[in-house]
């Protein structure tokens, strides 16, 4: 069991108003599962992903990562998990605007303490795998949306995480590039990685083995891909 969440809620207080982004979600994800999370806009998919990625903390409920309560982990343990266990592709990419693609992809390796030569080598491989071998010295504002998305994917994969969390990883890609990325995910899945993808597209979801549907902060359905 890699991930187990129980009764997780997330509240946002906006002045007098309280927004219930998640209203009590239970979810178990095993090692080497390939999961798609679907649901309408605003249903809480990104909120859930941030939680799973150890970036956000639930308002109530419990999250165990590898059998350990995340709420009890100290900062350094969380940093370690974010660095080595989880690769996160953000819906909004979150690249360093002043650094080129290569440096952005190297970033997790810097915090993993690898030597510059090894870092560069691995970042180049990761960029080539997403088809950006010829754009390594471009800064984010010198790249298209799809290219930025691929830099974000390369960064998520570069440190060989056991779990890949991807929030709309193909949202900005044409269907052919999207398929290439999905093939990459399929490879990773076959190598034993755990993959969790948020998507709107049924085509993309079909690559997964299991689909979780969210609506208004609750799980509507959870089952194998038909």
């Amino acid at each position: 069991m890699v991930i187990r969440i129980e009764g997780v809620t997330k509240l946002y207080r906006m002045g007098a108003e309280t927004i219930h982004a998640l209203r009590g979600v239970n979810l178990e994800i095993r090692r080497n599962e390939y999961l798609a999370i679907m649901g309408p806009s605003g249903s809480g998919k990104s909120t859930l992903m941030n939680m799973l990625g150890c970036l956000d903390t639930p308002s109530a409920g419990r999250y165990d990562f590898n059998g350990k309560d995340v709420a009890r982990m100290v900062d350094d343990e969380l940093a370690e998990i974010r660095n080595r266990e989880i690769g996160f592709v953000f819906q909004t990419f979150n690249l360093l605007p002043r650094s080129d693609a290569l440096h952005n992809v190297e970033l997790p390796l810097i915090y993993a303490g690898l030597s510059p030569a090894v870092r560069r080598e691995r970042a180049l491989v990761a960029l080539r795998n997403v088809g950006l071998g010829d754009r390594i010295h471009h800064k984010p504002n010198e790249m298209s949306g799809g290219q930025r998305q691929r830099v974000a994917i390369a960064r998520a994969l570069v440190n060989h995480p056991s779990i890949l969390l991807a929030d709309e990883p193909t949202g900005n890609l044409d269907s052919r590039t999207g398929e290439e990325i999905m093939a990459l995910f399929e490879d990773l899945y076959e190598q034993g990685h755990t993959i969790i993808v948020v998507t709107h597209e049924e085509d993309i979801a079909r690559h997964a083995r299991r689909v979780v549907r969210l609506r208004d902060g609750l799980i509507e359905s959870d089952g194998p891909v038909p």
Binding site: N50, G53, L55, D56, D75, D76, A79, E80, R82, N83, R84, F88, F90, N94, L95, L96, R98, L107, P108, I110, Y111, A112, G113, P116, R155, N159
Partner: protein
């Protein structure tokens, strides 16, 4: 994460806001500059004084009734005021007692009853000449040379002849076109015949040494009242090797001349180069303390500036911090990054300040004809202080950055 990487990031982000980094650094530079500049100048001057070139001639010590330098305690001052003058008779006896050790004993007394003007016919100098009586050893003891005419002879002194030797400034004023030799010059109401002129000497420590007139000390005392003057004695040891021995002999001779009993303290002062250096050191300490206070204030202001700029920088880069944390940056990596940035700002400013300070201090030293020095100790202290300032001013902003919540900072726009 390795240190080199943090350094690279720190340099990178300082480079993004070049003007801002420069302005912040300049505060530190000014603070360090003021202290290093003063320290450099002071040590350069001290170096030149210690070589003994500009104050006393070589192997010379001086005996007088009063000390130079500051007289702090009133008690000590009273004791000194009660001392008897060193009379001409005492000075001559001293000279005799030392005859087998050294010939060169320069007697000196200076006019103190208001500013002195020299005049010849209808020409006259500005008031404020150095006017004194001395003997034939004045040249050697004070490093003057004769330009025209001749020095005093022992006979001139014995017979108290009304002769005068003029400094170059006086010559230029009174005798612009003619030879001064044999002419009569009026000084403080008396008339003297010019027998020589001093060669131009220039200025030392910003003071001209050419506005001087010297007459035989015997004549000087009889003209202006022997009882009112205390004579200074400058004695030159024949060589460095016998300097200490000569000094001991001189003290003994002086005690005999002053008829002191064994248990009585010396009622006169001895300046060697050592004691002049000590007097200079006393002044230098005051100047140094002043420079330290000024630079401490400047550095305090500058560190407030660094803290301010670092806080701004943390706020501006909230998103960047969020991104770094989301890919696994630990709290201490972020802390390190911002601390190093602050230290880099401060130390770079410090290095610039040290360079400017050393250059300016040495320029001043060169102007005052002192040797060029590099104040290693102060420079090292400056760097340590700057690192400390960087850490102190950067700590709070860096902690703030390190403690940011990852998801909150990722959302920050």
């Amino acid at each position: 994460m390795e240190f080199r990487e943090i350094l690279r990031m720190a340099f990178g982000s300082l480079g993004v806001n070049k003007l801002r980094s420069f302005l912040t650094m300049s505060g530190i530079s000014i603070g360090v500059f003021s202290v290093i500049g003063v320290m450099t100048a002071v040590s350069a001057l001290r170096g030149s004084i210690e070589t003994g070139l500009s104050v006393l001639g070589s192997n010379i010590f001086q005996i007088s009734r009063n000390p130079t330098g500051f007289q702090t305690s009133g008690e000590a001052r009273r004791r000194i005021e009660q001392r008897r003058n060193i009379t001409l008779e005492q000075a001559q006896r001293y000279q005799q007692l030392l005859r087998d050790v050294t010939e060169v004993v320069c007697l000196k007394a200076f006019y103190r009853d208001g500013p002195v003007q020299a005049s010849h016919g209808n020409r006259q100098t500005e008031p404020g000449l150095t006017f004194g009586g001395s003997n034939e050893h004045f040249l050697a003891a004070n490093q003057y040379a004769i330009d025209l005419g001749r020095n005093f002879t022992a006979e001139d002194i014995d017979l108290a002849r009304p002769f005068v030797i003029l400094g170059q400034s006086v010559v230029r004023k009174l005798f612009p076109a003619e030879s001064p030799l044999g002419k009569r010059v009026k000084l403080a109401g008396r008339t003297y015949e010019v027998i020589g002129t001093f060669a131009e000497k220039g200025s030392s420590f910003g003071q001209t040494q050419d506005e001087i007139v010297i007459v035989p000390v015997t004549r000087f005392l009889s003209d202006f009242g022997a009882a009112r003057f205390s004579i200074n004695l400058a004695t030159q040891a024949p060589s460095q090797a016998v300097y200490n021995e000569t000094l001991d002999r001189a003290i003994t001779a002086m005690r005999i001349v002053r008829s002191l009993r064994a248990e009585q303290e010396n009622d006169f002062e001895i300046y060697s180069n050592d004691s002049l250096i000590a007097a200079f050191a006393q002044i230098a300490d005051v100047v140094r303390a002043g420079a330290l206070v000024i630079s401490a204030i400047a550095l305090l202001a500058a560190s407030v500036g660094i803290m301010n700029i670092m806080l701004v920088s943390v706020t501006e880069r909230t998103k960047e911090i969020g991104i770094r944390k989301s890919v696994g940056a630990r709290r201490r990596s972020i802390l390190g990054q911002f601390l190093i940035e602050a230290v880099l700002l401060s130390v770079t400013g410090g290095v610039v300040g040290i360079i400017l300070g050393v250059l300016t201090g040495n320029a001043l030293a060169v102007w005052l004809q002192a040797e060029v020095v590099f104040p290693w100790g102060w420079a090292a202290l400056g760097l340590v202080t700057c690192s400390f300032i960087g850490v102190a001013a950067g700590l709070y902003p860096a902690l703030k950055a390190a403690n940011l919540d990852p998801i909150e900072s990722l959302r920050y726009e």
